[in-house]
């Protein structure tokens, strides 16, 4: 499969000297659902800004669907739809006009753009609001409006910068379903998000960026396999006086009905349940205490920060 995006030695230094990107390299396959994660100020939005032509790069090269961004910029733009982090539509325009105008800017006739806008607004549950002013929409509706606007010209690649920020859980799940559906239809999706469970649920491949450098670039499955330890919380049916010896690296009693156990790779929960059952302790329910991706993310970023600090030390 060919690559939707190829980034080589991309650098960006802003006026004022901030070195936002320090030679990043990235490849995103066509049809992928790709997560670009990193802490605030890591360089995610700068990378996306360069891809969308909203930020001028300082050095390096970017290819989109095999076309060089510098040489074929207008063509590359025509292949991309962007959902930015902040609301950036005219709040004083009717909802449907926001989408229709964008279709026009991508060369569609008004008639074609209107037809398409109505289809998308229906899909995203905004059709009834189409004649109202955009400023009257709720935060979640505004996010969906930006998704409709980004898709009006039928892009091959959709870039979403924090698309579910401020969206309630039910709507977020709905947006996940919608994005999964369009990805299945062949649209490459690049997602940045602060909700790591969102990246874990949706994305097949991932890159983690920190201080302008890529610190991890692999499949979600490989990345999660690096996790060596997980913590589970077990809830007992009746009060537990003391914990028996268990085949895990750590266990503790949080209160008289709550037990925490730490498992490394190769250890199984069935062994824990067997021991507990043998001591008359019945577990009613359980949960994974930590978000696995979150734990990995923090560890990778902290390791990278430590490495940077060590380099900078004389």
């Amino acid at each position: 499969m060919s690559n939707a995006v190829e980034i080589y030695e991309l650098e960006k230094t802003y006026e004022g000297g901030t070195h936002a990107l320090k030679g990043i390299e990235l490849a995103i396959a066509e049809g992928d659902f790709f997560a670009l994660l990193g802490p605030n100020g890591a360089g995610k939005s700068t990378t996306i800004g360069i891809l969308c032509s909203l930020v001028n790069k300082t050095a390096g090269s970017v290819r989109v669907f095999g076309h060089d961004l510098d040489r074929d910029r207008a063509w590359v733009k025509s292949q991309i739809g962007v959902v930015p982090q902040e609301f950036n539509f005219n709040q004083f325009e009717p909802v449907e006009e926001v989408v229709i105008n964008q279709g026009g800017f991508y060369g569609m006739t008004r008639k074609a753009a209107k037809k398409r806008a109505h289809e998308l607004l229906k899909q995203l549950g905004l059709f009834e609001k189409r004649e109202g002013m955009a400023r009257a929409l709720s935060g979640g509706m505004k996010r969906r409006l930006m998704i409709a606007r980004a898709l009006v010209h039928g892009p091959r690649m959709l870039i979403l910068d924090e698309p579910t920020a401020g969206v309630d859980i039910e709507l977020r799940r709905g947006m996940w379903d919608f994005l999964t559906q369009i990805n299945k239809q062949g649209t490459t999706i690049i997602l940045t998000t602060h909700y790591l469970e969102e990246a874990e649920a949706l994305c097949r491949n991932i890159a983690i960026i920190n201080e302008g450098r890529i610190v991890e670039h692999s499949s979600m499955r490989n990345l999660l396999a690096k996790l060596s330890q997980e913590t589970f919380v077990l809830y007992a049916r009746e009060p537990v006086e003391s914990l028996p010896e268990m085949p895990v690296v750590g266990s503790r009693l949080i209160d008289d009905e709550t037990i925490e156990v730490d498992l490394t790779r190769g250890q199984e929960l069935t062994g824990v349940f067997d021991v507990l059952r043998g001591h008359g302790i019945v577990i009613e329910r359980m949960k994974n205490k930590t978000n696995r991706l979150e734990e990995l993310f923090l560890r990778l970023v902290q390791d990278d920060d430590a490495a940077i600090n060590a380099e900078e030390r004389p």
């Binding site: 800004g49 930020v55 063509w75 962007v82 930015p84 950036n88 279709g103 091959r156």
Partner: protein, 278 residues
């Protein structure tokens, strides 16, 4: 519904081949969409955009034309109230075409919906032409509305229809470009009123809207010749009344050179992303 749409607005090229963005038809659609949006924008707020210049013009005619005008008599053989008409019409064209570009583009920058254009395949020149066309549309619309008001107070005549439309059109293009340059540099709302208040208005008032420079002393006559708006207003006055303080060719020369310089300048600003891209 397929999420993809097969559009003839784009150039379809394989990897490695040189590919342009919009086809000529797609570019035309994009231009029309931007122009329509601009016209709808100032049309929606006509109470702020079209009505005030009409009221202002009516007041000028009442005060300067009817109350003070009879004491002045004629200028270059034309009754004073009639002498005022070309200058007042063109003053509206100048201020409104400038105001449209500067307020619309700065508003788009401020609210960040200028990004809708910057991420689209519209080339820079087309975005500029779209905004300028919006400025021209407002300038000429208000110019037309002010002409209707003038009809209530004075007898209108047209000496040269071609010059009338030529000067009005080129003037609105030039000042719409000026407004765009102002908007690109502006970072606060204050910045979009500095040039109209401290540069455009004084130059327009001193550019012969209300008088002929022949009425001034030799020094001020010479000083006035350094005001480019003098040439523009006199060119328009020639088109309506057949009288002018300067040769008509100088009007076109000033406008043509101004348009070329302003266009190239704003194109450079867009290309470098000044005030637009990080």
């Amino acid at each position: 519904m397929s999420i993809r749409s097969e559009s003839d607005a784009f150039d379809h090229q394989g990897p490695g081949e040189k590919a342009v963005g919009l086809t000529p038809r797609g570019a035309w659609n994009a231009f029309m969409m931007l122009l329509t949006r601009e016209i709808l924008r100032f049309g929606r707020i006509w109470v702020q955009t079209v009505l005030p210049p009409m009221i202002m013009t009516a007041l000028y005619f009442v005060v300067f034309g009817h109350l003070i005008g009879p004491r002045i008599g004629e200028i270059d053989g034309v009754p004073y109230i009639q002498y005022l008409v070309p200058g007042l019409i063109l003053m509206s064209v100048i201020t409104q075409s400038y105001a449209n570009s500067v307020s619309s583009f700065f508003g788009a920058k401020f609210a960040r919906h200028v990004e809708e254009l910057l991420v689209s395949p519209m080339p820079n020149w087309l975005i500029i032409v779209g905004y300028v066309a919006g400025g021209v549309a407002r300038g000429l619309t208000v110019g037309g509305a002010v002409t209707l008001v003038a009809l209530l107070f004075a007898e209108l005549s047209v000496h040269s229809v071609l010059n009338l439309f030529g000067v009005a059109l080129m003037t609105s293009i030039l000042f719409a470009l000026g407004g765009l340059i102002n908007a690109v540099y502006a970072t606060h709302f204050d910045h979009i009123s500095i040039v109209p208040t401290f540069v455009l208005t004084p130059l327009t008032y001193l550019g012969g809207v209300f008088y002929s420079i022949n009425m001034l002393s030799e020094f001020w006559q010479q000083a006035s010749l350094y005001n480019p708006i003098l040439y523009i207003i006199n060119g328009f006055r020639y088109a309506m009344l057949g009288i002018s303080d300067v040769p008509v060719w100088s009007t076109y020369a000033i406008l043509a050179v101004g348009i070329v310089i302003a266009y190239l300048y704003v194109l450079r600003l867009f290309r470098n992303g000044i005030g637009l891209r990080g």
